[in-house]
């Protein structure tokens, strides 16, 4: 039997006898199951919210279609509408359409990031862009959750998995030296590199590999086992990412042990590195991103947008008069029928002009906000190479479909859809036309082209592999000259 196989077999035996570590693993698994269940519940709620929204929109559209037919037939009394309703040229601006960001199979792992992700937008052609922007800023379902954070699998795997692995490996060699067994082991014909490799491999095979298999399986079981067949690559990638990220922490523990410190010193060093890579570097990156590209706060943005809306509304009459002077041909003659005393055509046109003005006022604010946000996100995206924890988290968010690129693609698609609706309907408003029953079915439906995550995910994985390589190379270099028996 090779020395490596002997070490692996022996380590298995020693690990089996270490009850404290297994209690740690059991606690981790319990927390993981809770996080998965919590994520699954959150994901189902989000999907239900989207489904309900779409259903309401469809029901409204159907009702609207029916009403149009009734109006066209002149049976306004059936609808309980006043007589002027038949000339209601505001009708073309009424239908709404919902944009829903489809859920990726692994969405449940990222409920924290998902909570802040825009995933649902309501678009009415006559709504100002500001109302769409409101939808696209963020979706927040539960402010309490936002205040305290949600225990999701992205957090658990990024922050707690390293701690679990370090608990099993911080004293790989040091404990042997402190107990006195290292001298007897290294008096045998076994290279230190073989000993450490065997110890690390045992933890990889016995701890990390089962976790990397169990987590994707549990995630699929929590929602729908058939997902495994529908998106096998997502689950496979998740397993690979867990293995690579875990290998980084195991190798780091191997490297620190090869430096020859005591168990207490190793624990402190590894704890410090965990703090640095998992908490400090991401925090510094956030601070840097916020300092270099400070976007207005969301509440401030909302206030500013509302102020512009009020400003535009207050000038509504003036806008109509200016429009009437510039485009006298589009102004519909006022009705002489006393029953139609309310000039619906004028009201609709004024509303549209106000909203057009609002859009013009809001556009630079929204553009600035989006540019600053994009710059912030771009900096965070580039900065992920500063820490394996950031790379891992970014990759998991991408797998879950809550990454910034996908959110931006959704926003862009929603805006493009709104523009398409407007392009089809607004000319009717300006011409004082009303919508016919048949017109409604011809309106464009929301569609989103999924941005390819393959490139960024490949980079994440490449970055993680390079991160693994660094402690591996340093460890091998150290092992060439290390004589760890005597301190």
């Amino acid at each position: 039997m090779s020395a490596l196989a002997t070490v692996i077999r022996h380590e298995n035996r020693v690990l089996s006898a270490d009850r404290a570590s297994w209690i740690g693993l059991a606690v981790f698994l319990v927390i993981a199951i809770y996080a998965i269940a919590s994520g699954a519940t959150w994901m189902q709620l989000r999907q239900a919210e989207a489904a309900t929204s779409v259903q309401i929109s469809q029901e409204r559209s159907a009702e609207f279609d029916r009403n149009l037919a009734v109006i066209e037939a002149g049976r306004l009394a059936e609808l309980g509408k006043p007589n002027w309703y038949k000339r209601w040229s505001g009708a073309p601006t009424t239908p709404d359409s919902r944009a829903v960001l489809p859920s990726r199979p692994l969405l449940l792992i990222a409920s924290n990031a998902g909570e802040l992700q825009p995933h649902l937008a309501t678009m009415r052609p006559a709504s100002s862009r500001h109302s769409l922007l409101d939808d696209l800023k963020a979706s927040t379902q539960n402010p309490v959750t936002l205040a305290v954070g949600r225990l999701d699998m992205v957090f658990l795997l990024t922050a707690a998995l390293p701690l679990l692995l370090l608990a099993f490996s911080f004293n790989l060699l040091s404990v042997e030296r402190e107990q006195g067994t290292l001298a007897l082991v290294l008096a045998q014909p076994i290279a230190l590199a073989t000993l450490i490799t065997g110890k690390l491999l045992t933890r990889f095979l016995r701890l990390l590999l089962p976790l990397a298999i169990a987590v994707p399986l549990l995630l699929a079981l929590a929602v729908d086992p058939a997902q495994l067949g529908r998106a096998p690559l997502d689950y496979l990638l998740l397993a690979v990412l867990i293995l690579v990220y875990g290998a980084f922490w195991l190798l780091l523990a191997g490297l620190i042990n090869a430096l020859g410190g005591s168990s207490a010193r190793n624990a402190l060093s590894l704890g410090g590195l965990w703090l640095l890579l998992v908490l400090v570097v991401p925090s510094l990156l956030n601070i840097a991103a916020a300092a270099l590209h400070p976007p207005p706060d969301r509440a401030g943005l909302t206030n500013e947008l509302r102020a512009r809306l009020v400003e535009a509304r207050n000038g509504g009459d003036q806008l109509y008069q200016d429009h009437a002077l510039e485009h006298p041909d589009t102004v519909v003659a006022e009705s002489t029928d006393p029953a139609e005393a309310f000039d619906s055509a004028k009201a609709t046109l004024t509303t549209w002009l106000v909203r057009e003005r609002t859009d013009a006022l809001v556009a630079p604010i929204a553009e600035r906000f989006e540019q600053d946000l994009a710059a912030q996100q771009d900096l965070a995206e580039s900065g992920r190479f500063l820490s394996p924890a950031l790379l891992f988290q970014a990759a998991l968010n991408r797998l879950a479909g809550v990454d910034a690129a996908r959110s931006r693609a959704f926003s862009a698609a929603a805006k493009a859809h709104l523009d398409a609706l407007r392009a089809q309907l607004i000319p009717k408003v300006l011409a004082g036309q009303i919508l016919r029953a048949g017109d409604y079915g011809g309106l464009p439906r929301f569609e989103m082209v999924e941005p390819s995550a393959a490139g960024p995910l490949g980079l994440d994985l490449l970055g993680l592999l390079l991160a693994v390589l660094l402690p591996a190379v340093l460890l091998m270099a150290r092992l060439r000259s290390a004589r760890p028996v005597i301190r």
């Binding site: 035996r13 006195g180 067994t181 001298a183 014909p189 076994i190 004589r483």
Partner: protein, 234 residues
Amino acid sequence: MLEARGLTKQYGSQIALHPLDLTIAPGEVFCLLGANGAGKTTTINLFLDFIAPTAGTALIGGVEVASNPLATKAQLAYIPEQVTLYRNLTGLENLRFFAALATGETLPDSRLLEILKAAGLPDGAAGKRVGGYSKGMRQKVGIAIAMAKNARALLLDEPTSGLDPKASNEFSALLTRLSGEGVAILMATHDLFRAKESGTRIGIMREGRMRHQVATRDIGHADLEQLYLEQMRD
């Protein structure tokens, strides 16, 4: 079999071992005597490649230790003052692991039990966890590891320290048997009596220098003690 050529160890300005020249032939038992810090353990650690020499070379079977540590360790066995084993494993499991590391083979349990018995471990102890063993029992597992290895050289660092007289006597008998089988033995000890009883040659070390070497057959117990005390006084 065991050879030191100008073997030196220095930590900064402090010299732990002045150039040492020493040859221990197969079947010879060389006992290193000296106070704490005399350089006995340093010498053994250099043969084990636990520390790197500052100058000179240590050789086992003509093979240089520092450049061929695995080849030289395959030829030697080591029993430290405190044989520390894996407390959660039984004596048999410990031997199984160390014997597999030492020989690269998986010896059958029946053979391992035979070895433990030959090393003097009491019946029934092999299946018990080492955490409950006495120092003498752990020492016997250490001897069993050395026996399983069939080593050509044996390094002992104060192996009888803390053992009761009976266990020490059994240990001496074992050394005599091993040396009779051609094993070269280097033993660091404070025990003058055991050195005279078990050794074929004795070296007295002080402050990292080999001060005096004498064949045990040429000196009596009382003279050895006198010689030792003289060397310590200089």
